[in-house]
Subunit: 231 residues, 2 copies
DNA sequence: CGAATCATTGATGAAAATCAACCCCGGTGG
DNA sequence: CCACCGGGGTTGATTTTCATCAATGATTCG
Protein backbone atom coordinates (compact mmCIF):
# COMPACT_ATOMS: atom_id res chain seq x y z
CA UNK A 1 0.00 0.00 0.00
CA UNK A 2 1.18 3.49 -0.60
CA UNK A 3 -0.13 5.60 2.24
CA UNK A 4 -0.92 3.89 5.50
CA UNK A 5 -2.30 7.09 6.93
CA UNK A 6 -5.90 6.07 6.90
CA UNK A 7 -6.93 2.83 8.54
CA UNK A 8 -5.20 -0.19 9.97
CA UNK A 9 -5.67 -3.29 7.82
CA UNK A 10 -7.50 -6.25 9.32
CA UNK A 11 -6.34 -9.62 8.06
CA UNK A 12 -8.85 -12.45 8.02
CA UNK A 13 -9.23 -15.83 6.39
CA UNK A 14 -12.32 -15.88 4.23
CA UNK A 15 -14.67 -18.66 5.05
CA UNK A 16 -18.13 -17.12 4.99
CA UNK A 17 -17.94 -14.62 2.15
CA UNK A 18 -20.45 -11.77 2.46
CA UNK A 19 -22.02 -12.07 -0.97
CA UNK A 20 -22.46 -8.43 -2.12
CA UNK A 21 -24.52 -8.27 -5.30
CA UNK A 22 -23.66 -9.03 -8.91
CA UNK A 23 -22.44 -12.09 -10.72
CA UNK A 24 -18.90 -10.93 -11.46
CA UNK A 25 -18.45 -10.28 -7.77
CA UNK A 26 -19.55 -13.77 -6.86
CA UNK A 27 -16.90 -15.22 -9.09
CA UNK A 28 -14.35 -13.47 -6.99
CA UNK A 29 -15.92 -14.72 -3.79
CA UNK A 30 -15.90 -18.23 -5.18
CA UNK A 31 -12.25 -17.95 -6.04
CA UNK A 32 -11.34 -16.52 -2.70
CA UNK A 33 -13.23 -19.08 -0.65
CA UNK A 34 -12.55 -22.14 -2.85
CA UNK A 35 -8.85 -21.79 -2.46
CA UNK A 36 -8.30 -20.87 1.15
CA UNK A 37 -6.76 -17.64 -0.08
CA UNK A 38 -5.91 -15.00 2.47
CA UNK A 39 -7.83 -11.78 2.01
CA UNK A 40 -7.20 -8.50 3.74
CA UNK A 41 -9.46 -5.51 4.14
CA UNK A 42 -8.24 -1.98 3.86
CA UNK A 43 -9.82 1.44 3.80
CA UNK A 44 -8.74 4.38 1.65
CA UNK A 45 -9.73 7.99 2.16
CA UNK A 46 -11.41 10.15 -0.46
CA UNK A 47 -9.10 10.82 -3.43
CA UNK A 48 -6.43 8.54 -2.07
CA UNK A 49 -4.45 6.56 -4.64
CA UNK A 50 -4.82 2.78 -4.38
CA UNK A 51 -2.23 2.03 -7.02
CA UNK A 52 -0.54 3.96 -9.79
CA UNK A 53 -0.24 3.32 -13.51
CA UNK A 54 2.93 1.34 -14.15
CA UNK A 55 3.35 0.07 -10.62
CA UNK A 56 3.89 -3.65 -10.13
CA UNK A 57 0.51 -5.29 -9.72
CA UNK A 58 0.82 -7.03 -6.39
CA UNK A 59 -2.84 -7.25 -5.38
CA UNK A 60 -6.28 -7.71 -6.84
CA UNK A 61 -9.09 -5.75 -5.21
CA UNK A 62 -12.80 -5.99 -4.58
CA UNK A 63 -14.82 -2.99 -3.47
CA UNK A 64 -16.62 -3.72 -0.21
CA UNK A 65 -18.02 -0.26 0.25
CA UNK A 66 -17.46 3.03 -1.51
CA UNK A 67 -16.37 3.65 -5.09
CA UNK A 68 -13.16 3.68 -7.14
CA UNK A 69 -12.14 5.33 -10.41
CA UNK A 70 -9.44 3.92 -12.66
CA UNK A 71 -7.89 6.25 -15.23
CA UNK A 72 -5.07 7.14 -17.56
CA UNK A 73 -3.44 10.54 -17.95
CA UNK A 74 -1.85 12.34 -20.87
CA UNK A 75 1.34 14.25 -20.19
CA UNK A 76 -0.51 17.57 -19.89
CA UNK A 77 -3.00 16.26 -17.38
CA UNK A 78 -5.94 15.36 -19.59
CA UNK A 79 -7.57 12.37 -17.96
CA UNK A 80 -9.64 9.47 -19.24
CA UNK A 81 -11.48 7.46 -16.62
CA UNK A 82 -11.86 3.92 -17.91
CA UNK A 83 -14.30 2.64 -15.34
CA UNK A 84 -16.03 3.25 -12.04
CA UNK A 85 -15.89 0.36 -9.61
CA UNK A 86 -18.75 0.09 -7.13
CA UNK A 87 -19.57 -2.24 -4.23
CA UNK A 88 -18.92 -5.83 -5.27
CA UNK A 89 -16.78 -4.98 -8.30
CA UNK A 90 -13.34 -6.46 -8.78
CA UNK A 91 -10.56 -4.23 -10.10
CA UNK A 92 -6.79 -4.27 -10.49
CA UNK A 93 -6.83 -7.62 -12.29
CA UNK A 94 -4.28 -6.72 -14.96
CA UNK A 95 -2.59 -9.83 -16.25
CA UNK A 96 1.00 -8.84 -16.66
CA UNK A 97 3.34 -7.47 -14.10
CA UNK A 98 2.13 -3.89 -13.79
CA UNK A 99 -1.06 -1.87 -13.53
CA UNK A 100 -2.09 -0.13 -16.69
CA UNK A 101 -4.30 2.48 -15.04
CA UNK A 102 -4.22 4.42 -11.80
CA UNK A 103 -6.87 3.59 -9.19
CA UNK A 104 -8.19 6.13 -6.68
CA UNK A 105 -10.91 6.07 -4.07
CA UNK A 106 -13.74 8.41 -5.05
CA UNK A 107 -15.08 8.54 -1.51
CA UNK A 108 -13.87 6.77 1.63
CA UNK A 109 -13.69 3.22 0.38
CA UNK A 110 -13.13 -0.21 1.89
CA UNK A 111 -11.64 -2.90 -0.30
CA UNK A 112 -10.86 -6.55 0.12
CA UNK A 113 -7.56 -7.49 -1.43
CA UNK A 114 -5.76 -10.70 -2.22
CA UNK A 115 -2.22 -11.27 -3.41
CA UNK A 116 -2.18 -11.67 -7.13
CA UNK A 117 0.54 -14.28 -6.73
CA UNK A 118 -1.76 -16.52 -4.75
CA UNK A 119 -4.51 -16.10 -7.33
CA UNK A 120 -2.18 -17.13 -10.11
CA UNK A 121 -1.09 -20.10 -8.06
CA UNK A 122 -4.71 -21.12 -7.54
CA UNK A 123 -5.35 -20.72 -11.25
CA UNK A 124 -2.46 -23.06 -11.96
CA UNK A 125 -4.05 -25.89 -10.05
CA UNK A 126 -7.74 -25.13 -10.27
CA UNK A 127 -9.34 -24.84 -13.68
CA UNK A 128 -12.46 -23.20 -12.26
CA UNK A 129 -10.34 -20.40 -10.85
CA UNK A 130 -8.47 -19.97 -14.11
CA UNK A 131 -11.73 -19.77 -16.00
CA UNK A 132 -13.13 -17.21 -13.60
CA UNK A 133 -10.09 -14.99 -13.96
CA UNK A 134 -10.48 -15.13 -17.71
CA UNK A 135 -14.19 -14.37 -17.48
CA UNK A 136 -13.61 -11.37 -15.25
CA UNK A 137 -11.04 -9.92 -17.64
CA UNK A 138 -13.45 -10.58 -20.48
CA UNK A 139 -16.12 -8.63 -18.61
CA UNK A 140 -13.76 -5.67 -18.39
CA UNK A 141 -13.09 -6.01 -22.11
CA UNK A 142 -16.79 -5.98 -22.93
CA UNK A 143 -17.23 -2.80 -20.96
CA UNK A 144 -14.27 -1.21 -22.68
CA UNK A 145 -15.66 -2.12 -26.12
CA UNK A 146 -19.02 -0.57 -25.30
CA UNK A 147 -17.26 2.48 -23.93
CA UNK A 148 -15.14 2.93 -27.07
CA UNK A 149 -18.37 3.21 -29.06
CA UNK A 150 -19.62 5.83 -26.63
CA UNK A 151 -16.39 7.84 -26.63
CA UNK A 152 -15.85 7.74 -30.35
CA UNK A 153 -19.33 8.11 -31.77
CA UNK A 154 -21.95 9.34 -29.34
CA UNK A 155 -22.99 12.97 -28.83
CA UNK A 156 -22.70 14.63 -25.44
CA UNK A 157 -26.38 14.10 -24.69
CA UNK A 158 -26.21 10.45 -25.73
CA UNK A 159 -23.17 9.95 -23.52
CA UNK A 160 -24.94 11.36 -20.50
CA UNK A 161 -28.06 9.30 -21.21
CA UNK A 162 -25.95 6.14 -21.43
CA UNK A 163 -24.16 7.05 -18.23
CA UNK A 164 -27.40 7.57 -16.33
CA UNK A 165 -28.78 4.24 -17.45
CA UNK A 166 -25.55 2.48 -16.50
CA UNK A 167 -25.48 4.02 -13.05
CA UNK A 168 -29.18 3.41 -12.57
CA UNK A 169 -28.63 -0.24 -13.33
CA UNK A 170 -25.61 -0.54 -11.08
CA UNK A 171 -26.46 1.50 -8.03
CA UNK A 172 -30.10 2.52 -7.93
CA UNK A 173 -31.83 1.66 -4.65
CA UNK A 174 -35.57 2.21 -4.43
CA UNK A 175 -35.59 4.08 -7.73
CA UNK A 176 -33.05 6.59 -6.43
CA UNK A 177 -29.48 6.95 -7.59
CA UNK A 178 -26.80 8.38 -5.27
CA UNK A 179 -23.85 9.22 -7.48
CA UNK A 180 -20.54 8.96 -5.64
CA UNK A 181 -18.58 10.99 -8.21
CA UNK A 182 -18.40 14.67 -9.10
CA UNK A 183 -19.23 16.26 -12.45
CA UNK A 184 -15.59 16.36 -13.44
CA UNK A 185 -15.27 12.61 -12.94
CA UNK A 186 -18.37 12.04 -15.04
CA UNK A 187 -16.97 14.27 -17.77
CA UNK A 188 -13.61 12.51 -17.73
CA UNK A 189 -15.42 9.19 -17.99
CA UNK A 190 -17.53 10.35 -20.94
CA UNK A 191 -14.86 12.32 -22.77
CA UNK A 192 -16.58 15.69 -22.33
CA UNK A 193 -16.20 18.64 -19.94
CA UNK A 194 -17.89 18.98 -16.59
CA UNK A 195 -19.86 21.98 -17.91
CA UNK A 196 -21.28 19.90 -20.73
CA UNK A 197 -22.31 17.21 -18.25
CA UNK A 198 -24.05 19.82 -16.12
CA UNK A 199 -25.87 21.32 -19.08
CA UNK A 200 -27.08 17.94 -20.27
CA UNK A 201 -28.36 17.03 -16.81
CA UNK A 202 -30.12 20.37 -16.50
CA UNK A 203 -31.75 19.86 -19.85
CA UNK A 204 -32.95 16.39 -18.86
CA UNK A 205 -34.29 17.89 -15.68
CA UNK A 206 -36.14 20.59 -17.64
CA UNK A 207 -37.63 17.89 -19.85
CA UNK A 208 -38.85 15.96 -16.85
CA UNK A 209 -36.75 12.92 -17.70
CA UNK A 210 -35.15 13.07 -14.27
CA UNK A 211 -35.51 14.85 -10.95
CA UNK A 212 -32.77 16.01 -8.62
CA UNK A 213 -33.05 15.57 -4.87
CA UNK A 214 -29.62 17.10 -4.69
CA UNK A 215 -26.90 17.45 -7.31
CA UNK A 216 -25.90 13.81 -6.86
CA UNK A 217 -29.21 12.31 -5.83
CA UNK A 218 -31.15 11.58 -8.98
CA UNK A 219 -34.44 9.86 -9.72
CA UNK A 220 -35.06 8.75 -13.28
CA UNK A 221 -38.60 9.48 -14.39
CA UNK A 222 -38.45 8.21 -17.93
CA UNK A 223 -35.94 5.46 -18.65
CA UNK A 224 -37.45 4.84 -22.06
CA UNK A 225 -36.70 8.41 -23.17
CA UNK A 226 -33.13 7.95 -22.01
CA UNK A 227 -32.84 4.64 -23.81
CA UNK A 228 -34.13 6.28 -27.00
CA UNK A 229 -31.60 9.10 -26.68
CA UNK A 230 -28.70 6.76 -26.23
CA UNK A 231 -29.14 5.62 -29.86
CA UNK B 1 -19.40 -19.09 -42.26
CA UNK B 2 -21.94 -16.82 -43.78
CA UNK B 3 -21.15 -16.62 -47.45
CA UNK B 4 -19.24 -19.47 -49.01
CA UNK B 5 -19.06 -17.66 -52.30
CA UNK B 6 -15.36 -17.04 -52.17
CA UNK B 7 -12.98 -19.90 -51.64
CA UNK B 8 -13.25 -23.51 -50.63
CA UNK B 9 -11.89 -24.19 -47.14
CA UNK B 10 -8.90 -26.49 -46.74
CA UNK B 11 -8.88 -28.51 -43.56
CA UNK B 12 -5.54 -29.52 -42.11
CA UNK B 13 -4.20 -30.78 -38.82
CA UNK B 14 -1.62 -28.40 -37.46
CA UNK B 15 1.66 -29.98 -36.63
CA UNK B 16 4.30 -27.59 -37.90
CA UNK B 17 2.82 -24.15 -37.25
CA UNK B 18 4.07 -21.45 -39.58
CA UNK B 19 5.15 -18.93 -36.96
CA UNK B 20 3.96 -15.58 -38.36
CA UNK B 21 5.35 -12.70 -36.33
CA UNK B 22 4.44 -11.34 -32.91
CA UNK B 23 4.18 -12.82 -29.45
CA UNK B 24 0.42 -12.88 -29.12
CA UNK B 25 0.25 -14.84 -32.33
CA UNK B 26 2.70 -17.42 -31.10
CA UNK B 27 0.52 -18.10 -28.12
CA UNK B 28 -2.19 -19.11 -30.49
CA UNK B 29 0.14 -21.32 -32.45
CA UNK B 30 1.26 -22.96 -29.24
CA UNK B 31 -2.31 -23.61 -28.23
CA UNK B 32 -3.25 -24.99 -31.58
CA UNK B 33 -0.28 -27.30 -31.90
CA UNK B 34 -0.06 -28.34 -28.22
CA UNK B 35 -3.52 -29.74 -28.24
CA UNK B 36 -3.89 -31.50 -31.55
CA UNK B 37 -6.66 -29.08 -32.35
CA UNK B 38 -8.10 -29.05 -35.84
CA UNK B 39 -7.58 -25.81 -37.71
CA UNK B 40 -9.18 -24.78 -40.97
CA UNK B 41 -8.19 -22.10 -43.42
CA UNK B 42 -10.68 -19.91 -45.16
CA UNK B 43 -10.54 -16.85 -47.40
CA UNK B 44 -12.92 -13.92 -47.35
CA UNK B 45 -13.31 -11.32 -50.07
CA UNK B 46 -12.95 -7.58 -49.57
CA UNK B 47 -15.70 -6.19 -47.30
CA UNK B 48 -17.11 -9.63 -46.63
CA UNK B 49 -18.52 -10.22 -43.15
CA UNK B 50 -16.73 -12.87 -41.11
CA UNK B 51 -19.15 -12.80 -38.23
CA UNK B 52 -21.81 -10.41 -36.99
CA UNK B 53 -22.33 -8.74 -33.64
CA UNK B 54 -24.58 -10.90 -31.52
CA UNK B 55 -24.01 -14.11 -33.46
CA UNK B 56 -23.02 -17.21 -31.52
CA UNK B 57 -19.25 -17.32 -31.31
CA UNK B 58 -18.42 -20.66 -32.80
CA UNK B 59 -14.86 -20.04 -33.97
CA UNK B 60 -11.73 -18.19 -33.01
CA UNK B 61 -9.68 -16.75 -35.86
CA UNK B 62 -6.11 -15.88 -36.73
CA UNK B 63 -5.24 -13.69 -39.69
CA UNK B 64 -2.88 -15.49 -42.04
CA UNK B 65 -2.85 -12.81 -44.68
CA UNK B 66 -4.83 -9.65 -45.24
CA UNK B 67 -6.57 -7.47 -42.64
CA UNK B 68 -9.78 -7.43 -40.63
CA UNK B 69 -11.77 -4.69 -38.90
CA UNK B 70 -14.02 -5.34 -35.91
CA UNK B 71 -16.66 -2.75 -35.10
CA UNK B 72 -19.89 -1.78 -33.41
CA UNK B 73 -22.71 0.22 -34.94
CA UNK B 74 -25.25 2.64 -33.52
CA UNK B 75 -28.80 2.38 -34.78
CA UNK B 76 -28.33 5.22 -37.26
CA UNK B 77 -25.19 3.74 -38.79
CA UNK B 78 -22.46 5.55 -36.90
CA UNK B 79 -19.62 3.08 -36.59
CA UNK B 80 -16.81 2.59 -34.12
CA UNK B 81 -14.02 0.29 -35.20
CA UNK B 82 -12.50 -1.27 -32.11
CA UNK B 83 -9.44 -2.79 -33.71
CA UNK B 84 -7.64 -3.68 -36.90
CA UNK B 85 -6.35 -7.25 -37.04
CA UNK B 86 -3.29 -7.85 -39.20
CA UNK B 87 -1.29 -10.92 -40.18
CA UNK B 88 -0.67 -13.04 -37.12
CA UNK B 89 -3.35 -11.43 -34.96
CA UNK B 90 -6.01 -13.47 -33.23
CA UNK B 91 -9.57 -12.17 -33.13
CA UNK B 92 -13.06 -13.39 -32.30
CA UNK B 93 -11.99 -14.64 -28.88
CA UNK B 94 -15.01 -13.35 -26.97
CA UNK B 95 -15.57 -15.39 -23.85
CA UNK B 96 -19.29 -15.78 -23.64
CA UNK B 97 -21.61 -17.26 -26.15
CA UNK B 98 -21.82 -14.49 -28.73
CA UNK B 99 -19.61 -12.03 -30.61
CA UNK B 100 -19.76 -8.52 -29.30
CA UNK B 101 -18.50 -6.86 -32.48
CA UNK B 102 -18.87 -7.48 -36.19
CA UNK B 103 -15.79 -8.65 -38.12
CA UNK B 104 -15.20 -7.86 -41.79
CA UNK B 105 -12.35 -8.47 -44.18
CA UNK B 106 -10.78 -5.15 -45.21
CA UNK B 107 -9.11 -6.70 -48.25
CA UNK B 108 -9.12 -10.28 -49.48
CA UNK B 109 -8.13 -12.09 -46.33
CA UNK B 110 -7.13 -15.61 -45.36
CA UNK B 111 -7.78 -16.75 -41.81
CA UNK B 112 -7.06 -19.85 -39.81
CA UNK B 113 -9.92 -20.82 -37.57
CA UNK B 114 -10.46 -23.28 -34.77
CA UNK B 115 -13.64 -24.26 -33.00
CA UNK B 116 -14.03 -22.31 -29.83
CA UNK B 117 -15.49 -25.41 -28.19
CA UNK B 118 -12.28 -27.33 -28.69
CA UNK B 119 -10.25 -24.43 -27.29
CA UNK B 120 -12.36 -24.35 -24.18
CA UNK B 121 -11.98 -28.09 -23.84
CA UNK B 122 -8.22 -27.76 -24.12
CA UNK B 123 -8.28 -24.98 -21.53
CA UNK B 124 -10.13 -27.29 -19.17
CA UNK B 125 -7.36 -29.84 -19.17
CA UNK B 126 -4.27 -27.77 -19.95
CA UNK B 127 -3.36 -24.92 -17.66
CA UNK B 128 -0.95 -23.44 -20.20
CA UNK B 129 -3.76 -23.13 -22.71
CA UNK B 130 -6.09 -21.57 -20.15
CA UNK B 131 -3.41 -19.06 -19.23
CA UNK B 132 -2.77 -18.18 -22.86
CA UNK B 133 -6.45 -17.56 -23.52
CA UNK B 134 -6.54 -15.25 -20.55
CA UNK B 135 -3.40 -13.46 -21.68
CA UNK B 136 -4.76 -12.93 -25.18
CA UNK B 137 -7.99 -11.44 -23.83
CA UNK B 138 -5.90 -9.27 -21.52
CA UNK B 139 -3.95 -8.03 -24.53
CA UNK B 140 -7.20 -6.97 -26.19
CA UNK B 141 -8.18 -5.23 -22.98
CA UNK B 142 -4.91 -3.31 -22.85
CA UNK B 143 -5.45 -2.10 -26.38
CA UNK B 144 -9.00 -1.07 -25.58
CA UNK B 145 -7.84 0.89 -22.53
CA UNK B 146 -5.24 2.76 -24.55
CA UNK B 147 -7.82 3.41 -27.23
CA UNK B 148 -10.34 4.81 -24.76
CA UNK B 149 -7.77 7.43 -23.80
CA UNK B 150 -7.28 8.27 -27.45
CA UNK B 151 -10.99 8.47 -28.24
CA UNK B 152 -11.96 10.44 -25.17
CA UNK B 153 -9.09 12.86 -24.75
CA UNK B 154 -6.82 13.25 -27.76
CA UNK B 155 -7.16 15.89 -30.48
CA UNK B 156 -7.62 14.91 -34.10
CA UNK B 157 -3.94 15.46 -34.87
CA UNK B 158 -2.87 13.47 -31.83
CA UNK B 159 -5.16 10.64 -32.86
CA UNK B 160 -3.69 10.48 -36.33
CA UNK B 161 -0.13 10.63 -34.96
CA UNK B 162 -0.90 7.74 -32.60
CA UNK B 163 -2.46 5.79 -35.43
CA UNK B 164 0.55 6.23 -37.67
CA UNK B 165 2.94 5.09 -34.97
CA UNK B 166 0.77 2.06 -34.23
CA UNK B 167 0.58 1.03 -37.87
CA UNK B 168 4.28 1.72 -38.38
CA UNK B 169 5.05 -0.60 -35.50
CA UNK B 170 2.69 -3.30 -36.69
CA UNK B 171 3.09 -3.37 -40.43
CA UNK B 172 6.05 -1.35 -41.63
CA UNK B 173 8.39 -3.25 -43.93
CA UNK B 174 11.64 -1.59 -44.94
CA UNK B 175 10.51 1.70 -43.47
CA UNK B 176 7.41 1.73 -45.66
CA UNK B 177 3.85 1.34 -44.49
CA UNK B 178 1.16 -0.07 -46.79
CA UNK B 179 -2.16 0.71 -45.17
CA UNK B 180 -4.85 -1.82 -46.02
CA UNK B 181 -7.74 0.40 -44.93
CA UNK B 182 -9.42 3.46 -46.45
CA UNK B 183 -9.72 6.91 -44.86
CA UNK B 184 -13.23 6.19 -43.64
CA UNK B 185 -12.01 3.12 -41.73
CA UNK B 186 -9.25 5.18 -40.15
CA UNK B 187 -11.74 7.85 -39.14
CA UNK B 188 -14.13 5.32 -37.66
CA UNK B 189 -11.24 3.83 -35.71
CA UNK B 190 -10.15 7.21 -34.36
CA UNK B 191 -13.59 8.68 -33.74
CA UNK B 192 -13.23 11.44 -36.35
CA UNK B 193 -14.38 11.95 -39.96
CA UNK B 194 -12.53 10.81 -43.04
CA UNK B 195 -12.05 14.47 -44.05
CA UNK B 196 -10.33 15.24 -40.77
CA UNK B 197 -8.04 12.23 -41.26
CA UNK B 198 -7.16 13.45 -44.74
CA UNK B 199 -6.45 16.98 -43.56
CA UNK B 200 -4.22 15.76 -40.73
CA UNK B 201 -2.24 13.53 -43.10
CA UNK B 202 -1.85 16.38 -45.60
CA UNK B 203 -0.59 18.64 -42.86
CA UNK B 204 1.95 16.05 -41.73
CA UNK B 205 3.02 15.70 -45.32
CA UNK B 206 3.43 19.48 -45.65
CA UNK B 207 5.54 19.47 -42.50
CA UNK B 208 7.77 16.76 -43.88
CA UNK B 209 6.90 14.35 -41.08
CA UNK B 210 5.84 11.80 -43.66
CA UNK B 211 5.94 11.20 -47.39
CA UNK B 212 3.28 9.57 -49.56
CA UNK B 213 4.19 7.13 -52.29
CA UNK B 214 0.48 6.79 -52.89
CA UNK B 215 -2.47 7.57 -50.67
CA UNK B 216 -1.95 4.36 -48.72
CA UNK B 217 1.79 3.96 -49.05
CA UNK B 218 3.43 6.06 -46.39
CA UNK B 219 7.00 6.55 -45.22
CA UNK B 220 7.51 8.13 -41.83
CA UNK B 221 10.35 10.65 -41.90
CA UNK B 222 10.22 11.83 -38.31
CA UNK B 223 8.89 9.40 -35.75
CA UNK B 224 10.04 11.59 -32.89
CA UNK B 225 7.86 14.46 -34.07
CA UNK B 226 4.92 12.09 -34.22
CA UNK B 227 5.67 10.76 -30.75
CA UNK B 228 5.81 14.31 -29.41
CA UNK B 229 2.47 15.15 -31.01
CA UNK B 230 0.77 12.12 -29.58
CA UNK B 231 1.20 13.67 -26.07
C1' DC C 1 -20.11 31.74 10.12
C1' DG C 2 -17.01 31.70 6.54
C1' DA C 3 -14.05 29.21 3.45
C1' DA C 4 -13.72 25.87 0.15
C1' DT C 5 -15.50 22.82 -3.00
C1' DC C 6 -18.86 21.65 -6.26
C1' DA C 7 -22.41 22.83 -9.51
C1' DT C 8 -24.90 25.79 -12.60
C1' DT C 9 -25.39 29.09 -16.13
C1' DG C 10 -24.01 32.48 -19.62
C1' DA C 11 -20.94 34.44 -23.30
C1' DT C 12 -17.56 33.56 -26.54
C1' DG C 13 -14.28 30.87 -29.24
C1' DA C 14 -12.16 26.96 -31.48
C1' DA C 15 -12.01 22.38 -33.29
C1' DA C 16 -14.06 19.34 -35.98
C1' DA C 17 -18.36 18.02 -38.65
C1' DT C 18 -20.88 18.77 -42.56
C1' DC C 19 -21.75 20.07 -47.19
C1' DA C 20 -19.85 20.45 -51.59
C1' DA C 21 -16.68 20.49 -55.40
C1' DC C 22 -12.97 18.66 -57.62
C1' DC C 23 -9.02 15.64 -58.49
C1' DC C 24 -6.52 11.50 -59.15
C1' DC C 25 -5.91 6.95 -60.48
C1' DG C 26 -7.02 2.36 -61.83
C1' DG C 27 -9.97 -0.35 -64.43
C1' DT C 28 -13.01 -1.13 -68.37
C1' DG C 29 -14.66 -1.06 -72.69
C1' DG C 30 -15.26 1.19 -77.04
C1' DC D 1 -4.90 3.17 -77.21
C1' DC D 2 -7.44 6.33 -75.12
C1' DA D 3 -11.77 8.02 -73.27
C1' DC D 4 -14.73 7.53 -69.68
C1' DC D 5 -16.40 5.86 -65.42
C1' DG D 6 -16.40 5.27 -60.44
C1' DG D 7 -14.47 4.93 -55.99
C1' DG D 8 -11.35 6.90 -52.98
C1' DG D 9 -9.02 10.97 -51.65
C1' DT D 10 -8.26 15.90 -51.15
C1' DT D 11 -9.50 20.54 -50.37
C1' DG D 12 -12.54 24.53 -49.48
C1' DA D 13 -16.68 26.98 -47.31
C1' DT D 14 -19.82 26.96 -43.77
C1' DT D 15 -22.14 25.25 -39.68
C1' DT D 16 -22.43 22.95 -35.42
C1' DT D 17 -21.11 21.21 -31.26
C1' DC D 18 -18.68 21.43 -27.52
C1' DA D 19 -14.68 23.63 -25.03
C1' DT D 20 -13.18 27.50 -22.76
C1' DC D 21 -13.54 31.52 -20.02
C1' DA D 22 -16.08 33.73 -16.53
C1' DA D 23 -19.36 34.78 -12.99
C1' DT D 24 -22.65 33.37 -9.68
C1' DG D 25 -25.10 30.15 -6.64
C1' DA D 26 -25.49 26.12 -3.60
C1' DT D 27 -23.54 22.72 -0.06
C1' DT D 28 -20.58 21.03 3.01
C1' DC D 29 -17.55 21.21 6.65
C1' DG D 30 -14.32 22.96 9.86
Amino acid sequence: MHTQTITAPATTVLNAPRAPVPSSADQFSIIASCSGIIATEFTYGKDEEIYGEGEPSEYVYQVIQGAVRTYKLLSDGRRQIGAFHLAGDVFGLDPGTSHRLTAEAISDTTVRLVKRRSLEAAAGSNVRVAHNLWTMTAGDLRHAEDHMLLLGRKTAMEKVATFLLEMDRRLAKAGMMALPMCRRDIGDYLGITLETVSRALSQLNDQGVLVFSSARQIVLRNRQRLADMDA
